[in-house]
Amino acid sequence: MQGMSLIVKNITRLVAGFIAIFGVYTVFYGHVSPGGGFAGGVILAGALVLIVLAFGEEFSRKVLPHGVAQTSDALGAMSFLLVALFGYMAGGFFVNFLPRGEPCTLFSAGTIPISNLAIGVKVGAGLFGAFLALALFRRQSDGHSRSPIAGRPNRGGPNGEES
């Protein structure tokens, strides 16, 4: 996929960082203000999607390669499960084992910010990966564009296993 015009690229350069920061803010302040890990993760994915749309797919490989997106998707989900399992060791499945703190401050609510972070990473990486797979999926006939799914011919799939 080709990038868009210079105007779009410049505006994206200006805006994408802010969108990403807003996403990070939404993730970290999920327990004191509206938002949370999921919304923040989608915003992060949105920032990456904007970069891909403006600069083209080749550029996105440098920002966040597809394999890394896939792996951090799974790792994010796994770390959320780990938060639950740490609670399991601390007394019970999903036990909030960290101190509650003072409400309305960043360091409060025990494990909730950690869970938010895990979900933010998981959703951001996962949706970006899904976007790459879906929006850049091409018919087999126009082989000039390299979709992330059909990285190389004769490769089994996105996992790149031997076929």
Partner: protein, 125 residues
Amino acid sequence: MTLPMLPYLLALLLLVVGLYAIVAKRNVIKIIVGLAILDYAVNLILVLVGYRTTPGAAPMAPILTGGMANEPALVAGAVDPLPQALVLTSIVISLSVTALLVALGLRLYEKYGTFDTERMRNLRG
């Protein structure tokens, strides 16, 4: 049938529009549209269930601001947070379903060169 029941009726009508799209339209994109409308309808019904009128004031979101001093007012007036938590989950689930549906639609387009399910073999019945 008092007026306060009307929002539920309208949400149910939205549900019917979504079902109509799925039953009547023979196109993958229209099915995506129909399922999305279904999800909006059911999410709205859930949030409507939790809404609490605060006389003479805007509805109070279940988020504490300005320290613990405001907590009693919040408990007395805020809308129900539980349906909101359920809807948050439901939105994510419908997003997931849409992602999978788009993937299926793309593959079907690749096979048939159309989104029209009339031209696909097994989906006519």
